[in-house]
Every structure is written in structure tokens, then in C-alpha cells.
């Protein structure tokens, strides 16, 4: 297509996509054979559906983002596809647990919607730098989204954390979208303020401390994240947003003192909250002794989920029980949402989990590579923000499920059941691809030359 520039790798992407569609289809067949002894009836439809969605996304990219990174779309497709298979597999074990319902069809629908959203971003966002203009609007929207669940009544099934907005039978998790919108704000704000933050500071005890007016928004964000934690009992989101901010601040200013400053603030905040919030205390206790929930006279409300997830992982061992042959539904209702990594760990084993972590690692790596390649500071900051948000989220969720850190109740990107999460993460991939398209496009196109 572009004889003078670097290869655009669209054909590579197509080949990888074929693999990313084929693998979940085979997994689907595997589950059907393991559980029913026959190929699942919907296999052809599922394969064709996934294939068609991936193909459309690919064709859209050929037309609207021809130089974009060739790995991101196949990686997201593969993770999304595997997630749907696992959810379908757990549906098959349904009826065992109350509150279970056929979720795979829903998830497939949401995946379709996610890819549609992906296409919308691809087609209508001409250049990611447009988003700079919405810096402060983004902040307002993100704060509204984050704060919204606090004003909606919590439901029984929410298990302490108020991170959902329920509208009838429909519920959304605004935090997933806030993650992206807030990154827009951070990138826009920091790009403007980076010089002031980096240079106009006073040296104090070996650290460079910024001026009050530059520091203000940081303190504000810190407080907001703590408020979210306190009012919505949402440890995951507050950790994610705060971590995201520190990382972006560090990248923008290139000052290590921000990391130290951020660490001190987060440890301080966590200590205060940990000591006062009973919800957080329960989580920490469950992390320190996951088997306590099985003790004959355990504390009321002690959840056995972490213990169950550990059993699932242990029973899976190195090679796993095989898709469809484990009993990950014992983890409970969360086996296909927050704890889906536990389900994969049981059925695909350590081997499978390593591969899955590699896939996430690759997405993050491609995102950060895009940041390095990006030609404008906003694009760099934006890509760093999106990639590290994904990395932090994967770490927080998988770390919680495997007992590495206290459980915080976030969703595993692409894999976990949940519409908001799937749609938001497809949007995230679309944005990364947009940035990488402009980064890898041959020939310099200065920002001022843009039609914006």
C-alpha cells in the first residue's frame, strides 16, 4: 500500500487474527467434547461470528489505521474469545449454583458491542490529539462517573463494593470507562503542566517539591481516590487511579521524587483507610488467612472465595485438568467474573496461566512501545497511561485471585464476564491502535499540520 514507508504489517495481523479466532473455536470444541462428548451445536455460528467480527475490525483498520500495531487486535480478540469460552463452559455447569444464568450469550453480545465501539473509535477519531481539547471536561466526566455509584442504592449481590449503577435489570460499572476518560485528563493536564511541575520546585530534604498551585490537583486526585475507597468500598479503582496518576506524573516530569512522594501518600492513605474501614479489614484478613473461612467457627461474612480459588489453582496444578474437566464452579458466582483467572488456572493449569499472563504482558508491552514511538507528548502520555492502567488492573485482579495481594474486586480485562469492562477495554485498544497508527505512519506530520 505504501511502497515508500515501513511495512505496515496488516497481513501479519490478519494471520494472527485467524489464529486468535481459531484457538477459541478449538477450545469451544474441546469443552463440548469434554462435557457432552460431542461438538457443541453452536460451534459453527460462534466461529463464524467471532471470525466475522474480527475480520470487520481488521478491514476497518486497513482503511482507517493502516500503520497501527499488528499485535494488539489479535491479542485482544484471543483473550476475549477465550473468556467467552470459559464463561460458556461455566454456564454448562450452571444450575449448580444459585444466581447463575446463561451468561455466555450476553458476553458474546457485549463483545460484539465492544468491537462495534472499537470500529466507531477507529472511524470517527481522526487523530488522538483531538482528545487534548477535552482535558477538563474529561476530568469532570470521570469524577461524575466515579462518584455516581455512591448515589445509587447498593444491591445485595454487590458484596460490599459500590461500583455499579443499576438501572432496572441493566447495570454498568462506570469505573471501567472512567479509567480511560481519566487518562485523557491526566495526559492533557500533565502535558501542559509538565514543565512547571518538573522545574518550578523547591528542594526540600533531597526531594523536589512542587509549588502549591501545581501540587493542588494531585492532592485533589489523591483525596478523591481515597473518598471513592471510603464511600464505595472500592479498593481496586482507587489503587488503579492513584497508581496511574503517579506513573503518568513520573513520565511527564521525569522526576523520581514523584514516585517517592506518591508511595508515601498511598501508604499513608492505605494505612488510615485500612485501620478505619471494616470492609478493607475483612479483605486484608481474608488475604492473610484465606482458609479461615473454613474454620468451624469462622467470623460472620468471611468469604471462602480466595480459599476456593486457591483450591482450584492447586487442583489444576501444572498442566490443569483440561477445559471442561475441572470444577472451578466451586469458586461460586464469581468463577466467571472477578475470579475467571482461577477458573483458567484450574482447567489450563500453570502452563495456561503463564500463557495468559504473557498475552496481557504483550498487550502492555505493545502499548508502551507505542508510547515510545509516539511523536507528540500527549500521545506518549496517553499511551503510557492506557498501557499501565491495563497492567495495574491485571496485576490487581490476578494478584488478588492468586493471593499475592488483598482481593479488591476488579474485572480481568477482556476475559471476565461484564459488559462495561469488555466495551471499555475494546475502546482502550482502539485508542492505543490510533496512537500507534499515527506513530508508525511514514513521514513526519507535525501536530500543527493536523486539521484540528
Amino acid at each position: 500500500m505504501t511502497p515508500q514507508g515501513a511495512p505496515n504489517r496488516r497481513n501479519t495481523e490478519l494471520a494472527l487474527l485467524a489464529f486468535a479466532v481459531l484457538l477459541p473455536v478449538l477450545a469451544y470444541a474441546n469443552v463440548g467434547l469434554a462435557i457432552d462428548g460431542s461438538l457443541p451445536a453452536g460451534m459453527l455460528g460462534y466461529g463464524l461470528g467471532m471470525g466475522a467480527l474480527a475480520l470487520i475490525a481488521h478491514l476497518v483498520m486497513r482503511r482507517w489505521a493502516p500503520y497501527a500495531d499488528p499485535l494488539l487486535l489479535p491479542l485482544a480478540t484471543l483473550l476475549n474469545g477465550l473468556g467467552v469460552v470459559m464463561i460458556w463452559r461455566l454456564d454448562k455447569a450452571g444450575g449448580l449454583l444459585k444466581g447463575n444464568y446463561p451468561a455466555a450469550a450476553n458476553q458474546l453480545m457485549w463483545s460484539g458491542l465492544g468491537i462495534a465501539f472499537f470500529i466507531v473509535v477507529m472511524v470517527f477519531l481522526k487523530d488522538h490529539r483531538v482528545l487534548q481539547r477535552y482535558t477538563y471536561i474529561s476530568m469532570a466526566v470521570a469524577l461524575v462517573l466515579l462518584a455516581a455509584p455512591a448515589f445509587f442504592p447498593a444491591r445485595k449481590g454487590d458484596f460490599g463494593a459500590k461500583i455499579w449503577i443499576h438501572l432496572g435489570s441493566f447495570s454498568i460499572q462506570p469505573g471501567e470507562f472512567a479509567k480511560i476518560i481519566l487518562t485523557v485528563f491526566f495526559a492533557g493536564y500533565l502535558m501542559v503542566k509538565r514543565d512547571a511541575l518538573a522545574l518550578a520546585s523547591r528542594r526540600f530534604m533531597g526531594l523536589y517539591l512542587p509549588r502549591g498551585r501545581d501540587l493542588g490537583p494531585i492532592i485533589a486526585i489523591w483525596l478523591v481516590s481515597l473518598l471513592i475507597l471510603v464511600f464505595e468500598n472500592d479498593l481496586g479503582s482507587s489503587f488503579l487511579f492513584f497508581g496511574l496518576f503517579v506513573v503518568m506524573l513520573y513520565v511527564a516530569t521525569e522526576r523520581t521524587s514523584w514516585i517517592i512522594f506518591g508511595l508515601v501518600m498511598s501508604i499513608g492513605g492505605a494505612t488510615v483507610v485500612g485501620a478505619t474501614s471494616s470492609h478493607v479489614k475483612v479483605r486484608i484478613d481474608a488475604w492473610l488467612d484465606p482458609m479461615a473461612a473454613f474454620a468451624p467457627n469462622h467470623a460472620d461474612g468471611a468469604s471462602d472465595q480466595i480459599g476456593q480459588a486457591l483450591f482450584a489453582l492447586g487442583s489444576g496444578g501444572v498442566t490443569g485438568s483440561g477445559l471442561g474437566q475441572g470444577r472451578s464452579y466451586l469458586i461460586g458466582f464469581a468463577a466467571k467474573s472477578d475470579f475467571i483467572i482461577g477458573s483458567f488456572g484450574e482447567e489450563l493449569g500453570l502452563t495456561g496461566l503463564m500463557a495468559i499472563f504473557m498475552l496481557y504482558g504483550l498487550i502492555v508491552q505493545r502499548g508502551l512501545r507505542t508510547a515510545i514511538a509516539a511523536r507528540d507528548p500527549f500521545g506518549k502520555l496517553f499511551a503510557v497511561g492506557l498501557s499501565s492502567a491495563l497492567a495495574l488492573q491485571v496485576f490487581v485482579v490476578a494478584g488478588g485471585v492468586t493471593g499475592l495481594i488483598p482481593l479488591t474486586g476488579m474485572t480481568m480485562p477482556f476475559m471476565a464476564q461484564g459488559g462495561s469492562s469488555v466495551v471499555a477495554n475494546w475502546a482502550l485498544i482502539a485508542l492505543l491502535l490510533k496512537i500507534s497508527d499515527s506513530a508508525r505512519r511514514p513521514g513526519l506530520e507535525p501536530a500543527t499540520a493536523q486539521e484540528t
Binding site: 486457591l310 483450591f311 489453582l313 487442583s315 500453570l350 508491552q365 506518549k380
Partner: protein, 485 residues
């Protein structure tokens, strides 16, 4: 900005590596202990995920594994003649765990035993369904049935042993229960389980192995053995120095016989055994002293646990007793307690020329394809008495059946020896006595069987209860069945 981005990349890499390290720790290092954790319900479901092996009696399985295709459990255990074999097989329930052979042989039956590893791997590679191995018992179906029918509606237990090997030929406890009624996890199963546990007659108690009774007069066999072994007497026709009215040592209490008409004063050992004279054997025991009595009892297996492999509780002969207590202990009253298995062991040792063989229930373990993975070889527990003493005891036991209280056990064509017992128990001996019969039978080809039967509260009135009347016919039926007469 690229330098900090590279550092952020390293940070993200560290996050992913931390997850990988943690997963390796959980799924590699801790995997086995997590998988085997008692709270990990997978183990429970795995046990019923494929057909369980069978427990065999005389070449026929008495158990089966039924495909129920449940959501969690694929198979359910069921038993043929469950009540008949329950004291042997035990139960294996989805909801309530397992017991006895179902529990002790679980490795073989579930196919998880290490010795089945090769077989399992082969099956996995050839795509054959995984299946548990079989456990072959020593039970003789006819003898078992005879004992069960004989006990009928009565509360009690019967044990039959092949004296030459220690093979347990019959192991019956009544009232019994059908393990099939609570093998599943449904509401009916729960009800059956609750009812069985609440039943005052304790149908799930394995009376043959887990209940001790005062052995009563059957213990006189042990006392007589001690007398010969310690050279106090040399022949069964030696007269004893038994007064008409025997007063327990250091007391003013008189030890009475069953009736005053019995020729017990100065009786020979044989006559004392024929008429089951308390005075004769009470005095012999008291004269020997508690230590010699205890040593003899322990050679027969008292004060030790026996694993058949189903564990039998210890039969008890007291270590500390005053002289009057020892007199009562020697006639199987006071503190002496024995399981039916223990008394069958006494009879078996006497029958087997004094050599006590280790009682065992499991003859063979095999894989699903019937490859033997273990076979029991008979093992001597102890030389309980010398062959000469054993011969004298045999003569006395035969005499009891021919001339004494055990005539109900006579079987034409067989040499039968026995000893009755009617054991007092309860507060001031107010409870209805237990009826005992301990015996052995030999045929011309030297095939033999030793049997112990106990019947609890077998009659509504005290006079109706005696070992000879209640327990001997049951023992007789078992011996006939075991030797096919």
C-alpha cells in the same frame, strides 16, 4: 520522556513477573497440599466421578457403582444385601463420608492407590475409562447369611474365623442398616442418615468389632488355659479344690453357681466346664492371681487393638484388681470385657493347636483388569497356649457340647467344641444378661471354623436367656454353613 517510559515498562514487567512467580508458587509448590485439602470438595466429587471398584464376597461383587450422571456426582454407590454385609463393607456416601472397607480400601476402590498408577496411565493413554480396583474379602457368603438369619431380629453379633489362617468367614452385627439408603445426597438420604444415627438400637454400630461385652462363662476357656499353662493342673480330670460355698477372697460375699444342684464342689476341670461352675473357675483364677491371668488373656489378644483392617476395639482384662475382683474377672464378669471377634480368636487359637493367627478380612486387592496388586499371607499373632494345653481345652469344649450346656451345637459328622456364657451386666447386674456361645468345628479333612456369637437382651425374661439356648443354635448354623454340612 522515553527514559521514564522505559522504566515504566520495567515496572510493568515486574508486575507481570510477580504474578507469574506467585502462580508458580501456588500451582507448583503448594499445589498438592491445596488439592488434598480437606475443604477442597473436588476430592469428594472425584471419588464418584468414575466407577468405583467392588468389594467381592466369594467371587461375586456385593457392591456396585451406578451411573447417575448427577451434576456433581456421576456415580452413586449401591450395595447388594446391604444390611447383610454392612459390618464388612461399611458405607461410601456422597454426603456423609465413608467407613470400614469402603474407607480403608478407598485408594484401591477409587483407583487412586499408587500401585495402580501404571494401570491408570495405560488406561489414560488407551482412552479407557478410569475405574477403581476390586477388594476381595475372606467372607464366606453362606456362613455370613447363616449368622445373619440366625440373629434375625435379635440384637447381637457373630464372628467366624478360619482357625488355620485367621481368615474371617463371617462378620455380622444386628440390627444392621442398608448403606444404599444414604449413599446419595438427596433429602431422603439425609433423612435416612439422621434416622439411623438417632436410632436407639444403634444399627450402624459394628457390634462384632466395636462393642465390648462381659464375656461371661466363655472366659473360663482362658482361665482353664492359664491353669494348664502354669502347670497348676495337668489333666482335665484333675479334681479341683473347690468348696461347696466359695467365699470371694478377703470378703464375706459368696460366689454362687447357676443352680445349687450342680456338682461343683471339688469338681474336675472337665465337669466344672460342662456345668460352667463359677466357683471352680473363680477360685482357679483367684489362686493364679491377676498377673498370670492377664498374661494368658493378653496372649489371646486382650488389651491390644486388632486391625482386620477394620479396627477392632481393645478387649480388656484389668491390670489392677483385688483378689476378689480377679475371681470375678476369671469368670468373665467384673471388669473383663471382650469383643465377639476376641472370643472367636480364643476359640480359633484353641482349635489351631494354640497358634493364634492374625484375623483378616481382605484376601486380595486387584486392579480393574483383575491384576492382583496384593495378596494376604497368613501371619501368626502369638502362640497363645501350648499344643498340649490346646488339646486339653479341645477335649473340654467337645465335652461341653456332648455332655454339658452346649448340646444345642451338636452337628452330626463334625467334631464340635463349644462353651456357653450368660453374662450379667448393668447396675447391680440388673440388666438382662448377654447370651454367648464360643465354639469351633472340625471335619474329617481338618477343615475348621471357630465361631463366637453374642445375643444382647435376647429375651424378655431373665430365665429365658442362656448361651446354650439362644446363641448356640446360631453358632451351629454358621459352622454348618462354613463347613458345608
Amino acid at each position: 520522556m522515553n527514559k521514564p517510559i522505559r522504566r515504566v515498562s520495567i515496572f510493568c514487567l515486574v508486575l507481570i513477573l510477580a504474578l507469574m512467580a506467585r502462580t508458580n508458587w501456588v500451582q507448583g509448590v503448594q499445589a498438592t497440599s491445596l488439592a488434598d485439602n480437606t475443604h477442597n470438595d473436588r476430592n469428594k466429587y472425584d471419588r464418584y466421578a468414575y466407577p468405583r471398584g467392588n468389594i467381592m464376597v466369594g467371587g461375586t461383587p456385593v457392591t456396585s457403582s451406578d451411573f447417575v450422571n448427577g451434576l456433581r456426582y456421576k456415580y452413586k454407590r449401591s450395595w447388594k444385601d446391604g444390611a447383610l454385609y454392612a459390618p464388612v463393607t461399611g458405607y461410601s456416601s456422597q454426603s456423609f463420608g465413608s467407613s470400614q472397607l469402603e474407607s480403608l480400601e478407598d485408594g484401591v476402590l477409587a483407583g487412586t492407590d499408587d500401585r495402580l498408577f501404571f494401570r491408570n496411565t495405560l488406561d489414560m493413554l488407551t482412552g479407557k475409562q478410569k475405574q477403581g480396583g476390586d477388594v476381595t474379602t475372606t467372607i464366606n457368603a453362606k456362613a455370613q447369611k447363616a449368622a445373619f438369619d440366625g440373629l434375625g431380629a435379635k440384637k447381637g453379633a457373630a464372628v467366624a474365623i478360619d482357625p488355620r489362617t485367621g481368615a474371617i468367614l463371617a462378620l455380622v452385627s444386628t440390627p444392621s442398616y442398608d448403606p444404599s439408603t444414604f449413599a446419595g445426597g438427596g433429602a431422603e438420604d439425609t433423612k435416612a442418615w439422621t434416622d439411623l444415627n438417632a436410632d436407639a438400637n444403634k444399627p450402624m454400630l459394628n457390634r462384632a468389632l466395636r462393642e465390648t461385652y462381659p464375656p461371661g462363662s466363655t472366659f473360663k476357656l482362658v482361665t482353664a488355659s492359664a491353669a494348664f499353662e502354669n502347670n497348676v493342673f495337668h489333666s482335665i480330670d484333675d479334681p479341683t479344690d473347690t468348696p461347696d460355698h466359695y467365699i470371694l477372697p478377703n470378703t464375706t460375699t459368696e460366689l454362687k453357681n447357676e443352680s445349687a444342684n450342680e456338682p461343683c464342689a471339688g469338681a474336675t476341670l472337665k465337669v466344672g466346664m460342662d456345668y460352667s461352675c463359677n466357683t471352680v473357675y473363680g477360685k482357679i483364677g483367684a489362686d493364679l492371681g491377676r498377673d498370670k491371668m492377664r498374661e494368658q488373656a493378653e496372649k489371646f489378644g486382650f488389651n491390644t487393638t486388632v486391625d482386620t483392617p477394620i479396627r477392632a476395639v481393645q478387649s480388656f482384662y484389668p491390670k489392677t484388681s483385688s483378689a476378689d475382683g480377679t475371681a470375678l474377672d476369671s469368670i468373665g464378669q467384673h471388669d473383663t470385657r471382650a469383643t465377639p471377634l476376641q472370643m472367636a480368636m480364643v476359640a480359633a487359637a484353641i482349635c489351631n493347636n494354640g497358634s493364634l493367627m492374625q484375623p483378616y478380612l481382605v484376601d486380595e486387592e486387584s486392579s480393574a483388569s483383575l491384576t492382583t496388586i496384593s495378596k494376604h499371607s497368613p501371619k501368626q499373632l502369638s502362640q497363645a497356649i501350648s499344643p498340649a494345653t490346646a488339646q486339653k481345652l479341645q477335649d473340654m469344649m467337645v465335652s461341653v457340647v456332648d455332655n454339658g450346656t452346649g448340646t444345642n451345637a451338636k452337628i452330626p459328622g463334625l467334631t464340635v467344641g463349644g462353651k456357653t456364657g450368660t453374662a450379667q451386666h448393668g447396675e447391680d447386674n440388673n440388666g438382662l444378661p448377654f447370651a454367648w456361645f464360643v465354639s469351633y468345628a472340625k471335619d474329617a479333612n481338618n477343615n475348621a471354623v471357630a465361631v463366637a456369637v453374642v445375643v444382647e437382651d435376647g429375651s424378655n425374661n431373665r430365665d429365658g436367656i442362656s448361651g446354650g439356648r439362644l446363641a448356640a443354635p446360631i453358632a451351629k448354623a454358621v459352622m454348618q454353613a462354613a463347613l458345608s454340612k
